[in-house]
C-alpha cells in the first residue's frame, strides 16, 4: 500500500543504496530533508460539548438576546471588564476572551457567526461524528475530513508529522488511510530508555511486519515518528519570552503544537480538543462556568499566537464545536442543545477584525425550529476555504463528498 511509509532507518537507506528499493521508499528515506523547509499549517481546535456561541461572541445589538437570557446574558459593552468587549458596534467578545481583543484589533483574528453543521441532530455524539467525518447525516463514512485531505494531496516529502493530534487517542477527524500521529506529550512519546535498544528493535520488528491491520499500521507510524523526533528534538523550542500558556491539557497541547511548528518537523495539519462546554445549568454570564472555560480557551489561543510570532504568517487556526445552544436560557440558568454556533479563525492570512457570515437574527420568526440560532454558514464551507486558501487544496469534493461547496460559498475569512 503506497500510503504506508517505511521506517527511516538504515535498513531502508541500505535498500536504496542497493538499488532495489521501490520509488516510494526512496522518497520516504529522504523525507527528512523536506521537513526542514517551512510549510503551511492548519490547526484545528474542537470544542467538545457544544459551546454557547451567543455568550462567546455576544450579539449585544439584539434586544431578543437580553429578553431570552434574563440571568446569563453578557451586558452590552460599557468600557469595563464586566460587560462584552465591543467588536463592531453589534457584536461583543465575552470579557473572559480579553486576550483575543488585541488580535482582533491587529486583524489577525476573524470570527464566523451562525456557523455549524446543517444536520438537525442535537446529540453530542452524532453531531461531533458528523463534523469530524465531514459528512453531516451520513454515519457510514469511515474516515475523517482531515484524513481525506491528506489522502487527496499525497506528498512525497511528507514526514511522520504531516498530521498530528495532541490527544491521547486519534480523533475521528484524522481517522483513515493516511498516516497520522496522536501524542499526549512530546516528552513521553517514545519507549522508556530502560527498555534498551534490543527490546526497542524487537517491538519495531513485531509491528513492522507485513500485516495490514490498524495495529500494525499504527505501530509502524509510532516507530517512524520516534526516529524522527530523535533527529529534530522539538523540546529545544520553548515558548517565546513572556509567553505563558494557561495550565492544563489544552494549554499544553497548543504549546506543543507550537513547538512542533517551530521545529519544522513538517506539520501540515494539527488537531487538539478542549471539553467542558455543556452548560445545562449555572452557565453564568460575565463570570461563571462558561467564563472560566473561555478564559482558558482564549488565553491559550493568544499565547499560541504570540509564541509563534512571525511564523503565524504560515499558520491558520480554526475552531469548531458540534452545535450551539438554545437562545433562551433554560430553567437552571443554563442552556440546552441548540443549532448554529461560532468559530474563530486566527492567522497571518486571515481577513481579521471582521465578523463573517450572515447574521440570521434572533427574532421569533428567525430562530431555527423556533428555539435556536439559525445556521447561515455550513462548517464545510469554512473548512473548505481554510484547506483551499490555507493549504492550497484543490479537491474539496473528495474531502467533503456530497457537499456542493466551492469558492462561491466560502465565508471569505482568508485572503485569496
Amino acid at each position: 500500500m503506497l500510503t504506508r511509509r517505511f521506517f527511516l532507518k538504515s535498513s531502508g537507506l541500505a535498500l536504496v543504496s542497493f538499488g532495489v528499493a521501490p520509488r516510494f521508499l526512496t522518497r520516504a528515506a529522504y523525507a527528512a530533508e523536506g521537513a526542514m523547509r517551512r510549510r503551511k499549517t492548519v490547526v484545528t481546535i474542537f470544542q467538545r460539548g457544544a459551546c454557547d456561541g451567543l455568550n462567546t461572541v455576544v450579539p449585544y445589538g439584539e434586544k431578543a438576546y437580553y429578553a431570552l437570557r434574563p440571568s446569563i446574558a453578557v451586558p452590552a459593552p460599557r468600557g469595563g471588564k464586566d460587560a462584552a468587549l465591543d467588536l463592531d458596534g453589534f457584536f461583543g467578545l465575552h470579557p473572559a476572551l480579553q486576550p483575543l481583543l488585541p488580535l482582533w484589533q491587529e486583524r489577525s483574528l476573524a470570527i464566523v457567526h451562525a456557523v455549524g453543521s446543517p444536520d438537525a441532530t442535537r446529540s453530542h455524539f452524532d453531531a461531533q461524528d458528523f463534523m469530524e467525518s465531514g459528512t453531516p447525516g451520513r454515519k457510514a463514512t469511515e474516515d475523517g475530513w482531515m484524513n481525506r485531505h491528506l489522502q487527496t494531496t499525497p506528498d512525497p516529502q511528507a514526514t511522520p508529522f504531516r498530521a498530528v493530534s495532541m490527544t491521547p487517542t486519534l480523533p475521528r477527524s484524522l481517522a483513515g488511510r493516511a498516516p497520522a500521529v496522536a501524542m499526549s506529550s512530546i516528552r513521553e512519546f517514545g519507549l522508556r530508555p530502560a527498555a534498551g535498544a534490543q527490546v526497542a528493535r524487537g517491538f519495531e520488528e513485531m509491528y513492522g511486519g507485513a500485516v495490514h491491520d490498524t495495529l500494525h499500521g499504527t505501530g509502524r507510524e509510532a516507530f517512524e515518528a520516534i526516529e524522527f523526533l530523535k533527529k529534530t528534538d522539538p523540546s529545544r523550542y520553548q515558548p517565546a519570552a513572556g509567553v505563558v500558556y494557561p495550565r492544563g491539557p489544552y494549554g499544553d497541547s497548543l504549546r506543543q503544537v507550537a513547538q512542533l511548528i517551530k521545529a519544522d518537523v513538517g506539520v501540515e495539519m494539527a488537531f487538539t480538543d478542549v471539553g467542558g462546554w455543556d452548560h445545562h445549568a449555572a452557565e453564568g454570564g460575565v463570570e461563571g462556568q462558561l467564563a472560566n472555560r473561555l478564559r482558558e480557551f482564549g488565553g491559550a489561543l493568544a499565547a499560541f499566537h504570540r509564541d509563534l510570532g512571525d511564523r503565524m504568517a504560515d499558520v491558520v487556526v480554526v475552531t469548531m464545536t458540534e452545535f450551539g445552544r438554545t437562545v433562551r436560557e433554560n430553567g437552571n440558568r443554563g442552556t440546552d442543545h441548540g443549532h448554529a454556533s461560532v468559530s474563530f479563525v486566527l492567522g497571518g492570512s486571515v481577513k481579521g477584525g471582521q465578523v463573517h457570515g450572515r447574521w440570521p437574527g434572533l427574532g421569533s420568526g428567525q430562530l431555527y425550529e423556533g428555539r435556536d440560532l439559525a445556521l447561515t454558514t455550513d462548517f464545510r464551507d469554512l473548512l473548505g476555504e481554510v484547506l483551499s486558501r490555507g493549504l492550497g487544496a484543490k479537491d474539496l469534493g473528495a474531502v467533503f463528498p456530497g457537499h456542493a461547496g466551492g469558492p462561491g460559498r466560502f465565508p471569505g475569512v482568508l485572503r485569496a
Binding site: 442535537r122 493530534s165 487517542t169 481517522a175 501524542m183 513485531m206
Partner: protein, 558 residues
C-alpha cells in the same frame, strides 16, 4: 494441546454447546474436551483474560459449567477481593459518610472563593498557593480529600477486575457503568458514584432492564450528572428567599432540596426555575432507544416535562436521596412517542421509563451494545436479532440476554476469536492477570489506564467510552501500552508484585524461557512474525522477554 478439527466440525461442536447452554436446567453430561482456543476465547471475553492455570481449571470443570456459574455470580465465593478492598479507606462508605468526611467544608470553599476574588490580578501560582494554605487550615476537619475518593473508586475497580472470581460480573458491571455513565468530577458526583455502583448498578446488573433503568433514574448520581435534579415546570412558584422551608408535605425530614446552587451559580435569591432537557435527551439517545430510535425534539421536551420534580433532597445535609417534588412538576398532559401520558405526578416518569424500557428499539439497542462488547465491533446481525428477541420475550431479563449471547454459536465459534482490540482497562488488567501479578496497591495501574486515555469514572460526556478498536488504536496509545508492558514485567509498577522467572518456567533465559513465557502470557498463540522476533531475541532476560510478549500485537487483542 490444540485439537485439529475441520472448521465444520468446530462449528457443529459450538452449536451443540450453544444448544445445551440455552437450557440452564438441563443436567450436564460429564465435561467434554474443548479446544484450548475456545476456553481462552471465553476467558478473554467473559473475564479480563486468563491467569496462569485458568485454562486448565476451566477445562477440568467444563466450559459450560464455568459459563453457567459466571452467569450466577452471587453463588461464586470471592475470598480474594474483600481483604484487598478493605485496605481502601473510602471503598464501601455511603454517600453520606463521604460527603461528611471528604468534601471540602463549605466554610473553606467560601473562604477560598473570597480569597481568590481578592487576589483577582495575582498570578495563578500565588492563587494556587493561597488555596493550598487554606486547605491545610481546614484539613484537620476532613478525614481525607475529594481526590482520594476518586482515586479509590478507580483502585477498587482495578482490584476487582484483577482479583475477583466473579469475572463476568465485573465485565457486565463495567458495561453498565459505561452505559449509564456518570462523571466523578462534576460537583458531588465523586461522593455519589460509589453508592451508585454498589446499590444501583450491581444489584440490577443481572435483573430486569426496566428496574435498572428506574434505579439509575432515581439515583442522586444520575440526577445530578444529567441535571434533572434542577428541572422544573417553568410556571412553578419561585422558591422563597434564603433558606427555604420544606417543599410540600411529601418531603419527609429532608432539608430544602434545590437550594444548593450548582457550581458557579450566582447566590440564590428567589429564582425562577424551568425545564432542563439534558436527562430527557440522554435517557432516550444513550440509555434506551439509541440515537436512531425514532424520537424527536418534541419527544425530548415532553419527556423532560414528565421528569420535572424528580430531584435530590438532602444534598446540603450530606444525606442525598431521591425525592419527587410535586411543586416543581409540570401537571399538564404529555405526548411521548405518540402516546398520551395523562397528568399523574411521579407516575408519569415511571410510565416513561416503562415505555422506553419495553420499546422494541431499546431491545435492539441494548442487544447491539452487548453483542459489540462480547462478540465483535461489527455485531453479527443474526445474533443481535436473537438477543433482541430474548430481550423482548423475557421482558428485558438481562441475564437471559447475556446468556443467549455468550452461549451462541457465533460467540463460541472460531469466527470472532481475537477480533476485539483491548481497551486500556482490559489491556492493563489482562496483563496483570496473565502475568500472575499480585496487586497490593492498584494506584499505579489506575494511573496507567488513565494515561492511555481512559481515566475511570472520569469520562465527561454521557456517551461513556467507545467499545470499538479504532477508538483505542493510536500511536500514543500504543506506545503507552508498550511502556506499560515493559514496566510491569520489569517490576517497575508500584504496588504490583510479579515473578517473571517463575513465569519463564524457571529458565533464566534462552529459547526455553521464551517459549514458556509466550505460552503462558499469550496462550492463544503468537503470529509467525512475532514468533520470529521472539526467537531472535532469546538472550533477553525473562523480564524483558515478558515485556516484549505483553507488548506484542497479539496481546493487544482478545
Amino acid at each position: 494441546m490444540r485439537l485439529r478439527r475441520s472448521t465444520a466440525g468446530r462449528s457443529a461442536a459450538a452449536l451443540a454447546i450453544g444448544l445445551i447452554l440455552l437450557q440452564p436446567g438441563t443436567a450436564l453430561a460429564a465435561p467434554r474436551p474443548y479446544e484450548d482456543a475456545a476456553v481462552i476465547h471465553v476467558l478473554n471475553r467473559l473475564a479480563y483474560g486468563p491467569r496462569p492455570g485458568d485454562v486448565e481449571k476451566v477445562k477440568a470443570m467444563g466450559l459450560e459449567r464455568w459459563i453457567t456459574e459466571q452467569l450466577e455470580p452471587q453463588r461464586i465465593p470471592d475470598p480474594a477481593v474483600g481483604p484487598r478492598l478493605a485496605r481502601l479507606e473510602t471503598a464501601g462508605l455511603s454517600s453520606n459518610e463521604l460527603l461528611k468526611g471528604y468534601e471540602v467544608p463549605r466554610a473553606a470553599k467560601r473562604e477560598i472563593a473570597q480569597k481568590q476574588a481578592e487576589m483577582d490580578s495575582a498570578s495563578e501560582d500565588s492563587k494556587r498557593e493561597a488555596r493550598r494554605e487554606l486547605m491545610q487550615k481546614y484539613g484537620s476537619q476532613m478525614r481525607g480529600t475529594p481526590r482520594q475518593v476518586i482515586a479509590e473508586l478507580q483502585e477498587a475497580k482495578v482490584l476487582r477486575a484483577v482479583h475477583s472470581e466473579r469475572q463476568l460480573d465485573e465485565v457486565l458491571v463495567d458495561f453498565w457503568l459505561n452505559h449509564f455513565n456518570v462523571y466523578a468530577q462534576k460537583g458531588p458526583v465523586k461522593f455519589l458514584a460509589g453508592e451508585y455502583e454498589r446499590e444501583v448498578l450491581r444489584p440490577h446488573a443481572w435483573g430486569r432492564f426496566e428496574d435498572l433503568l428506574l434505579a439509575t433514574a432515581e439515583s442522586p448520581a444520575m440526577l445530578f450528572y444529567l441535571d434533572n435534579w434542577l428541572s422544573a415546570d417553568p410556571n412553578a412558584r419561585p422558591a422563597a428567599r434564603g433558606r427555604r422551608g420544606r417543599f410540600g408535605a411529601a418531603a419527609g425530614g429532608g432539608q430544602p432540596t434545590m437550594r444548593r446552587p450548582a457550581e458557579g451559580a450566582p447566590p440564590g435569591q428567589g429564582r425562577k426555575r424551568g425545564l432542563n432537557e439534558n436527562y430527557a435527551r440522554e435517557i432516550m439517545e444513550l440509555h434506551t432507544l439509541g440515537v436512531d430510535g425514532g424520537y424527536t425534539q418534541k419527544d425530548v421536551t415532553e419527556v423532560a416535562r414528565c421528569f420535572t420534580g424528580w430531584t435530590i433532597k438532602g444534598l446540603r445535609d450530606e444525606r442525598p436521596e431521591f425525592h419527587f417534588e410535586g411543586r416543581f412538576h409540570d401537571n399538564g398532559d404529555k405526548v411521548v412517542l405518540g402516546q398520551t401520558i395523562k397528568a399523574g405526578g411521579q407516575e408519569e416518569g415511571r410510565k416513561v421509563i416503562h415505555l422506553l424500557a419495553t420499546h422494541p428499539a431499546t431491545a435492539r439497542f441494548i442487544s447491539t451494545k452487548l453483542v459489540r462488547k462480547f462478540v465483535a465491533d461489527e455485531p453479527p446481525a443474526a445474533l443481535v436479532d436473537k438477543a433482541s428477541a430474548v430481550f423482548k420475550r423475557t421482558d428485558g431479563d438481562i441475564r437471559e440476554v447475556v446468556r443467549a449471547i455468550v452461549t451462541s454459536p457465533e460467540f463460541l465459534g472460531p469466527a470472532y476469536r481475537n477480533a476485539k482490540v483491548k481497551t486500556p482497562l482490559e489491556f492493563v488488567v489482562s496483563a496483570a492477570r496473565a502475568s500472575g501479578a499480585l496487586v497490593d496497591d492498584p494506584i499505579d495501574l489506575a494511573k496507567r489506564i488513565a494515561a492511555m486515555g481512559m481515566p475511570l469514572y472520569m469520562q465527561q460526556p454521557p456517551t461513556g467510552y467507545k467499545d470499538t478498536a479504532e477508538a483505542w488504536v493510536s500511536t500514543s496509545g500504543l506506545l503507552a501500552r508498550l511502556n506499560f508492558a515493559l514496566d510491569l514485567a520489569g517490576g517497575r509498577i508500584v504496588g504490583v508484585r510479579i515473578d517473571t522467572t517463575k513465569l519463564a518456567g524457571g529458565a533464566a533465559e534462552g529459547a526455553a524461557a521464551a517459549t514458556a513465557l509466550a505460552a503462558r502470557l499469550v496462550p492463544q498463540g503468537l503470529s509467525d512474525s512475532t514468533r520470529k522476533t521472539i526467537d531472535g531475541e532469546t538472550d533477553l532476560s525473562p523480564a524483558r522477554m515478558a515485556g516484549l510478549v505483553l507488548g506484542s500485537p497479539e496481546f493487544q487483542r482478545r
